[in-house]
Each structure stands twice: as structure tokens, then as C-alpha cells.
């Protein structure tokens, strides 16, 4: 099976860079130096190691440490040059007739301190400020090119979930089932690595847990935790054997050519208790209501509160998104090249929704000792509300 592996088009990169430049000018930052792998890919089309210099006006310059020939091929930017060390950046910029910035923007939300110190020495006369918010705001609204790529990832998420009933057998461990599903995903082109931006967060393919183990909380900012395989990886699938009459949560990301889809479906070998079936129906009802409410202009913090209110009204205030002090304070998140993109449908968020944002909404009900039910789909924000990009039947699949 082959997919479109072609480079990000030049016109696409141009628009992205122009949007960033506008934000740089608003913030009075004269240039950004982009070094984080995902941002670099977004603005240049390559993940090879290098530095993308974006002045507040004019052409961006991609300087590549390793691997130059590959980056040159992958990036449709005009100015791509090799560079042996970041120490050479100022000379290189001056050689090209550029004035060195007095205020330089970098991704200070992810850049480690020791590296920052190196860049501060290299740009000794510049004040280095954080432009990660500006970058993330540009990235939050997806172009039609990006939406098309996310649609493809979404279709494959549905396809992976369709395979689950064939592989789900009583007595199989969570990790064994996970491995089989993951192998199938990989054969469809899943890139393996799922990137998260938040420092200290990590995600394998996703969360596959059964019954009580899905309700075990973890360090992760997620309504589900999971026992995991050890105290080193304290989340996700573990050695629990999957039994009958318990919800099997398959919350998997499909990562295709960089773009992600986030997706949860519930399966069960045999009937589930009414309590769980009803809670699942309630989560679906919340999803349907939110899809109409979530129009451009709505504040993401308000949308979060509306979802909480809906859950309470339906009698699931206690179980919604966790129990007691283990409740997480969000109900959805932006999805794109990273799993934790802007916007966050979370308590106190003031960012308004905009057409073209792509968000994963995950109304879930947690029943300690019993399991987790609920749904997650990846949606596009449109003028009419949310359009679901993952479309596989949302009901619990009883096998």
C-alpha cells in the first residue's frame, strides 16, 4: 500500500510562514529561530536536524546540520543551505545581508536550558523570548491540505477499530492484543512515533485497556490511565487478561505522514452491565449536543463548562472524566502533528474556537473497579459546528 509521500507544497509553507511573520511583527520580535522537530517540519517540510530562521519579513532560511541532501529534497523552501554548527548562524545571516535581531523568538516551552544558553551565547546581543504560543496558534488552524491529511488518518483509525472484533479473544492479555492491533496499524502506514509537546508526556500508539484496569489512574493528563507493563511506563496496556462482560477500551492514535487522528471505541465480549451501557449512551448524547454548540467564536473554556453541565444534568457528574480528585480538567484537545495541540477544551481556557481547528473530543465516564465507557472522535470545526472526521459506528460493539 502506498500513500502520498510528496513534500509539503511550497505554497503551503509560504502561508504558514507569512502567518507566523504577522504574529512576530505584532509581538515586536524581529525573527524566530525554529529548532523543535515538529515545528521545523511544519514550517519547512523536513524533520532533518537544522535551524529555520524566520525574519519578521522576507524569505525564511533553512540551515541544515544533518542530513543536508535529504532536507534539500524534502523541503520546498527556496533557501536551504548546509551548516556545520549553530555558532555559524549569525555569520551566515550577515553574509546574506540580514540584520541580526535584537529580539529573537525561540520555542522556550520545549527548548532545554543548556541549549538555550548556547543560543544565548551565539546571539549575545539579542533578547531571546518565547514564541511557542505564536507558533501553536498558527498551527491550531488547519489548512485544507492539512485537513485532507487528517481525514486520511481518521479513515485509517476507523479501519483499525474495525479489525478489533476479529482479534479480541477471551484470556488474551491487553499487551498481546495491543501488539496485534498495532502491527495491523503499522501495515496500513502508521508511522509508529506519536509526538506530544508537553514535557514529560509520552504516548505509544494509545491506550488499550479492559475492565477495571482502564479505570486505574496515571500521571498522564488523560481520563484513562491503565496499569501499564511496569512502574517505568505507568500507563496503557498491561498484563491483565481480557475477560467477558467488561468494556475493552481501544483509544488509539493513527499517525500517518505526520498527521494524527485520535479515536476511542468500546468493545465487549458478551453483554455489559446496564449501568455501563447507559453511561455510554449518555456520553454519546453529550457528544451530539456539543457538536452543535461548538461553533467558531465559542470560548473553549465555556465549551468545557457546558460539557461538565451536560454530564451533571444526565447524572454523571461523579464519573465524568475521572472520579474525585483524579478528575482531569479537560474534555478535548487540538490534534495535528502533535497529540496535544491548541486548542484545549479545558477549564479556564479563553481561546475561541475557529473554523479549521481540529479537535478530539472525548466524553468518558470512569467507573473504578468496573471500567471506562464513552467515545472519542476527531472533529473539524466548521461554521455549522463540528464535522466528525472519524465516522465508525459510535455504539459499544458487543461480540
Amino acid at each position: 500500500m502506498t500513500y502520498d509521500l510528496s513534500a509539503t507544497p511550497a505554497a503551503e509553507l509560504e502561508v504558514r510562514i507569512a502567518q507566523l511573520q504577522e504574529r512576530l511583527r505584532q509581538k515586536e520580535v524581529q525573527a524566530a529561530l525554529i529548532v523543535q522537530k515538529t515545528d521545523l517540519y511544519y514550517f519547512s517540510g523536513t524533520s532533518q536536524q537544522g535551524w529555520l530562521y524566520v525574519p519578521d519579513t522576507g524569505e525564511a532560511l533553512l540551515m541544515v546540520f544533518k542530513e543536508f541532501e535529504r532536507a534539500k529534497q524534502e523541503s520546498q523552501l527556496v533557501d536551504v543551505i548546509p551548516l556545520v554548527s549553530p555558532k555559524k548562524i549569525p555569520d551566515q545571516l550577515q553574509l546574506m545581508g540580514l540584520v541580526l535581531p535584537s529580539v529573537l523568538g525561540m520555542e522556550l516551552d520545549v527548548l532545554p536550558v543548556n541549549l538555550f544558553s548556547q543560543y544565548q551565547k551565539i546571539f549575545a546581543d539579542a533578547k531571546i523570548v518565547d514564541v511557542s504560543t505564536e507558533i501553536r496558534l498558527v498551527r491550531a488552524v488547519k489548512s485544507s491540505y492539512e485537513i485532507d491529511r487528517i481525514r486520511k488518518a481518521c479513515a485509517l483509525s476507523d479501519q483499525v477499530a474495525l479489525r478489533v472484533p476479529e482479534l479480541l479473544v477471551e484470556g488474551k492479555t491487553e499487551v498481546q492484543l495491543a501488539g496485534e492491533i498495532e502491527a495491523y496499524a503499522r501495515s496500513l502506514g502508521h508511522q509508529g512515533i506519536v509526538r506530544m509537546r508537553l514535557w514529560g508526556s509520552e504516548m505509544f500508539y494509545g491506550h488499550l485497556m479492559s475492565g477495571s484496569s482502564a479505570a486505574v489512574p496515571s500521571y498522564l493528563a488523560s481520563p484513562t490511565g491503565g496499569e501499564g507493563v511496569s512502574s517505568m511506563i505507568g500507563q496503557g496496556a498491561g498484563y491483565k487478561k481480557i475477560g467477558r462482560n467488561e468494556p475493552v477500551l481501544v483509544d488509539y492514535v493513527f499517525a500517518l505522514n505526520g498527521y494524527l487522528s485520535d479515536h476511542t471505541r468500546i468493545f465487549s465480549l458478551g453483554q455489559l452491565p446496564d449501568e455501563l451501557m447507559q453511561a455510554h449512551e449518555a456520553m454519546l448524547a453529550i457528544q451530539e449536543e456539543v457538536k452543535k454548540l461548538a461553533v467558531p467564536g465559542v470560548l473553549t473554556g465555556d465549551l468545557y463548562e457546558q460539557m461538565i453541565a451536560l454530564a451533571e444534568k444526565k447524572g454523571y457528574g461523579e464519573n465524568f472524566m475521572g472520579v474525585g480528585d483524579r478528575k482531569i480538567r479537560f474534555t478535548g484537545h487540538g490534534v495535528g502533528l502533535e497529540l496535544d495541540e491548541f486548542p484545549f477544551i479545558a477549564k479556564g481556557q479563553t481561546l475561541p474556537l475557529a473554523a479549521g481547528m481540529v479537535i478530539a473530543l472525548e466524553p468518558k465516564a470512569i467507573f473504578p473497579g468496573k471500567g471506562v465507557v464513552g467515545i472519542e472522535n476527531t472533529h473539524l470545526v466548521t461554521e455549522q459546528g463540528l464535522e466528525s472526521l472519524t465516522t465508525l459506528d459510535n455504539t459499544i460493539r458487543i461480540i
Copy 2:
């Protein structure tokens, strides 16, 4: 299949913390605040989100944000308490009768700038210095408990490689074969996530490439690159179909309960050209010579130069560890909870080998357009030289 999932023993944690404390005193740092996930696990036994405060003498204190009950169960430290915010750390320390440090050590090689700024505000009167080298030096020498865990991971690396001949079929894509091998690894308890410390580095299960695609260079600090599935993930297995008479490189990490084994074996459907067979034999010969040379006290930089000299003497100076300016400047690396631990067998390194270090040595020969041959095993440094912990037949497996 079940493994020992028990917590890191208290005595083990005690020794590790005492070693760090000695280094803190030498550096005149009054305390370390450990926040990076892997270091936290190493010194406390849990990966849940929190802060480990290690004064230069006395008991360490683990403060847990999320998930407290889980961390309390996993960590065998005596002092484990819940804490809602890092802002409360100074109050908490003073409450316990501790004097706030004037010099505080943190992991500045990995800690992002914005988080550092928060900690600097919290410890407003302290100078925050980097103690990542001290932490990495403690972690570089493995205890018998750790060596035992790495041995288990190594045995599973061998077991995974033994499965390859059954799955290797002409015309299968690299990613499809990769997915199948990965599913098998996962069924044996592979934790999925493989952690690297170097910022901007990432690794899935490892590298599986065939023929020419193994010789495609990438951004990664590795002799092999790989086409990868897209320009977003510019390394590793891609969509190339595996053919006959070309080397299939299976360079996989087994990650079991945190500990890693790094391991490369070469397979081929049918005979390989003599040129590649001979180069492989030369790499094995280099490995055997280095195993005798690598005794405690030898400088890692010198060991690197010895390997280069051996490769040149055997006529592989051009192909060893890359070609032309794509050569990487190392031939091995420490392995433990992360894939890029101390020591590095690399140009200019002055760290001497010590008994108890665990290193992956990977003499490889790169032939652009043809493929990669060579070997990688995980070895324990002993007084008599290297003991290989991965023991599966090192020769090319012709199928």
C-alpha cells in the same frame, strides 16, 4: 507470560541516592530537585509525575502531583507525600525542618526554559545549576540488580531476532515486517516506548531496513538512517519491498520493565555478494578484538580510535560507521533506562570505562546503494573485558 514487576528495592534506591549525594557534595550543590521522568524512576522507583528532592545528606523526599496512591505503592522510598503544586515545595521543605538550598541542582540538559523559569521563581534565592552530568555518571555504572534486568531484556532481544526468519518473505514491505516483529516483541513484554535523552532524538522499536534503504542517512546520530515512512519521521523502516540477495538489518531495542537491550543482526533471502559477506566478517573481528581491549580504566575516546584504526587496517576505513562526511563519530554507547546513556564510545571522550558499565557496540559498514552489514551487541564491562549479554549467533543468517 509474566515478569517480575516488583518495585525497585529500597536498598537499591538508597545506594543510588547516596552516590548522587556524594557527587552533590563534591560539586558543592546542597540539593538536587529531580523532575525528568527517567531520572525520577531511577532514584525513586516510580514514573508518576512529581519532584524528588535529594539533599546532599539525609533522606530524599518524593512529592507527588499525580498519581499519588500509585507512586506511594511503586516507590520504596520512606518519604512519599502528595503535593498539589511545585510552588509549595519550599514551604514543604521548611515544614520538614530542611534548610532551603542556596545552590540547587536540576537536570538542565533536558529541562525546558519556561519550566526552569518557574523553578527559579519558586527557589528565588537559589542559584540553579546543572547536575545532569552527575546524575548520568551515577546511572552509567549498573548494579547487579540492574544488570540482571538488562540480561532479561537481552535474552528477549535474541528471542525476537530468532523469529525474524519465519516472518521474512520476499516482497513484504519493511514496515509490514517491522509491525509483525514488533507485535511479537510486545507479546513478550516489550514496553513499547524507548526513551532517549538527547533533545530532538526519538526512536521507535529500532531500525529495520533492507538493502539500499538501510544506507540512506538521516538526522539521527546513528550509522544507519533509513527512508522512514515520511519526511516527518525521516528514519527507520519505510515502504521499500524486501528483495532477495540484500542484507536485511534488524537493529531493535528490547525494552523490558524500563531496561533496554540494543541488538543488530543481519538476515538475507538468498546469498549476499562476497563484498558484503567479507565486510560483515571484518566487523565481527573488530568486535572480538574490542571485547578484549575494553577493560576498566580505558578511555572511551581511545577505544573509539582503536576501533577506527582496526577498521582502517582491515580496509574498511571508507565504509566504517558511514561514508564521507556522513560518518558518525561514535562506535558505541551506554545502555540502561535510556538508549543514549553514558559512556559514549566516541571521538574525544575522556570518560574511562568502569566495571559495571553496560555498552552497546555497533561496528557497522555502510555501502551506499547496496546496504549495511555489521553487528551490535549489548555488553557488560568486566575486569576481563566485555561480556556479551546478547549471545545469538552473530553471523549473517541466510534464508
